[in-house]
Symmetry: C2
Subunit: 550 residues, 2 copies
Amino acid sequence: MTAICFSQPPTGMGPFSHKKKKKERESTVTSAIFGFGVTRRDTNKQNTDFMDVFYFVDLLPAKNGEEQTMQFLLEVVEILTNYVRKTFDRSTKVLDFHHPHQLLEGMEGFNLELSDQPESLEQILVDCRDTLKYGVRTGHPRFFNQLSTGLDIVGLAGEWLTSTANTNMFTYEIAPVFVLMEQLTLKKMREIVGWPVGEGDGIFSPGGAISNMYSVMIARYKFFPEVKTKGMAAAPRLILFTSEHSHYSIKKASAALGFGTENLILLRTDERGRVIPADLEAKVIEAKQKGYVPMFVNATAGTTVYGAFDPINEIADICEKYNMWLHVDGAWGGGLLMSRKHRHKLNGVERANSVTWNPHKMMGVPLQCSAILVRERGLLQGCNSMSAGYLFQPDKQYDVTYDTGDKAIQCGRHVDIFKFWLMWKAKGTVGFEQHIDKCLDLSAYLYNKIKNREGYQMVFDGEPQHTNVCFWYFPPSLRGLPDGEERRERLHKVAPKIKALMMESGTTMVGYQPQGDKVNFFRMVISNHAATRSDIDFLIEEIERLGNDL
Amino acid sequence: MTAICFSQPPTGMGPFSHKKKKKERESTVTSAIFGFGVTRRDTNKQNTDFMDVFYFVDLLPAKNGEEQTMQFLLEVVEILTNYVRKTFDRSTKVLDFHHPHQLLEGMEGFNLELSDQPESLEQILVDCRDTLKYGVRTGHPRFFNQLSTGLDIVGLAGEWLTSTANTNMFTYEIAPVFVLMEQLTLKKMREIVGWPVGEGDGIFSPGGAISNMYSVMIARYKFFPEVKTKGMAAAPRLILFTSEHSHYSIKKASAALGFGTENLILLRTDERGRVIPADLEAKVIEAKQKGYVPMFVNATAGTTVYGAFDPINEIADICEKYNMWLHVDGAWGGGLLMSRKHRHKLNGVERANSVTWNPHKMMGVPLQCSAILVRERGLLQGCNSMSAGYLFQPDKQYDVTYDTGDKAIQCGRHVDIFKFWLMWKAKGTVGFEQHIDKCLDLSAYLYNKIKNREGYQMVFDGEPQHTNVCFWYFPPSLRGLPDGEERRERLHKVAPKIKALMMESGTTMVGYQPQGDKVNFFRMVISNHAATRSDIDFLIEEIERLGNDL
């Protein structure tokens, strides 16, 4: 057996014998007077020195550790609030790009390697600053790279509180308030989906992929409950359907849960990326003719690349006709349900058996926050419960139907609800609506700006359904080329090249990808309520500045 | 289709027309001078009034929102630091228990219902205080209820930073520092497991149950890779083995992944809860005789209730003999690998094909932090990758082997690494060792204190292997009763009754459960480095105070 290798002899080794070289502090320190009842050791000293302060001997629960603990936390908060301010400041970069080998070799004073001996808290503070310095400001108004962007101040406060409470969602016993918040919020979401009086069930999961996985599991349990005990051998060959534009998590679920990716049939879409219902019906019939059992259809509300909304009502008709489970993956588009102007794009969602909806995407909630909603009550519990005696004791003094943990495939479960609940309180339903309408207005602005602009070509015609705007940029050198293989090949390299230049200059970030037979194009998405028209203008200027000479 | 119901007419509705009644502020406010470059509107005013301050119009990214944003965040931090101080203060309660219906009906000023209109930030701050007030202090030195306890100050700082960075682990592109930290930390963990030069692979997942699920998926992929595409129909009947004392997540995985719980064979254990290797071999032979394929064995390092360590080397011999995957579930006991004194309890772990290890349990890292480690490189990727073009573009400017997201069953993945990395920096390997040795010393203290004490009976003989101490308390009224059904029935009710009284008085919390044919007993666990011998003494006094007259 290999033992742990300590670089120092194990006996007589003081854990605090090793001191790091101090790096110059970059910022001023929280000032001399605190409202926290903390008496400073030296009130004349403006800068607390953490060089000789060590976690184990100086911070709580160490004896007399309260003062140093409070000072340390306030230093951290200063670093964080400085970061927050800079995030919203357009004069700061979105990122300061370095290659992996550069960071691994160690930037000045920033060493990622772990050591046997403790570092001083001075070094810990330096590490915190450096971690933020070399990261990416996902809340910056010009970060458009991901579906989840923005830095919501109330959501942030909620996450800080969640971390401080540091508890677990499995039982009411240790998370009474959070369990109730989850229950009330899920009910509200189901009402908004359109299920009568918010009936049904649901749970927050660690992301949209897991929420989608839940939907497939629950569908299987509904139709073939014996799979839980006997495995897939107890069921006939089951077929799942989803569009070729849908999120890859449906494919991951089909592999993980034992269906096999070959039993996930991809549906054709129209030029806008929406499922063609006739193709679904044809493929259902084909599967049945082979003796297979069509069981599950995923309709996407807001595809990842095009932002397309599948026609839910027409799909629901087919699901009802052939007795299949209808899941709506609204991870990205679910947020539009909060908008009276845009929710019609999800017409028919109330006919779904389950819905994935990620508040951490379009609603700007900090990561992670994803809900799986289920119309029929009892299925989640039936599918997943194992009734562990050490956790879900039936003889507790309170109503144990509030111990909701056994519905999950997880045991311990992070508290994802509080930040969302707090944001809802602070913004109201109307605030989310305002947020969503604003983002969609911005993407319409972008679309109108570039649809006829020289050098641009839209990937699909017409105004986008979601905030996704997909387009090619043609540098002047490509504009005269005839349509053909050479132009395609050169165009395919434009977006990656511009993106690389963007990241190196650190000014903005936007995604790109190929799709089907289409070469690399930009996918612009907006979910950050800090973004404005001037940021859209900036992005276009930047693409042209960086791409003009390619 | 059901529309959203707004309680106010949609037109002409100002989102800020609705003001909440102010609740009296409970604490003093961060004081007059900040080092944040914030100029107070009224420097003579000690209390900032957030009654007329609203998220949308006053906080960033609102114009001129910086000052209010900073003040709001500092108010939140004051609430949190007060909570931290109280958490370590033994004169405060562990919890202030209320039944679900009481909280739902609304405590004074604390209304869980979500509304259409925004609340003032004053109310948001009140909600933050109330959320903490009615919660459970899982970091309190007398909270012994769960495997995850304690409030690590550096870990907390790490979580606050993680929330502020608000990014996602799927690509190096948007989480360069965190991706590298994860890589280095996982390598270090594999070295400590004992795999040569830390070879292998791994990923942080949203908890031990998901980590265990990964192990089953990867084992299946190793032996029957075609299941990924063709489903379980492509494999023979596969059998999994785990002890009757193991965690229920193995059973959840067998149901979810399509094996079926009947194909998970439970192994007998000795009186200490450790697997009997001969029983494993007998059951493997039996399965083979039936024509089934034994594929996967889970050995638990630290069972949930008894804290037992299965004999890994003997199990590994059988796995090698019959060509089965060996997984070690060290969610709870993995931390002991950090201790030179206790790591021998996991002897043989380096022979495992995969290991679950939750730093959020025995190592005191804030929730969630769980790693799945895999000895053979490439399996995680092979098993789970779907190569989504919009995320994992091959034509990026950096080395895309650092885009590790496609190894996961998730798409978006929360940053769980930073707090752990930061704690490791601050404590060093030796600090974790100290933490673990201290907790095990404390449980030995408890064991020695009660093993011969009047009114106590140990559930199993001998010193516990982990910090789990399992015992019955007999109130005086039961002590004279002959062993038999009446005594069993009455004893079964003792632990729940004492636990209910504990929660109502709010003084301490400890778990209980039945196990097999054993009636309800207490399971004491210690992972909080704030706990001391005096807290153990207090627990025993409290059990006797509350249980004496039952």
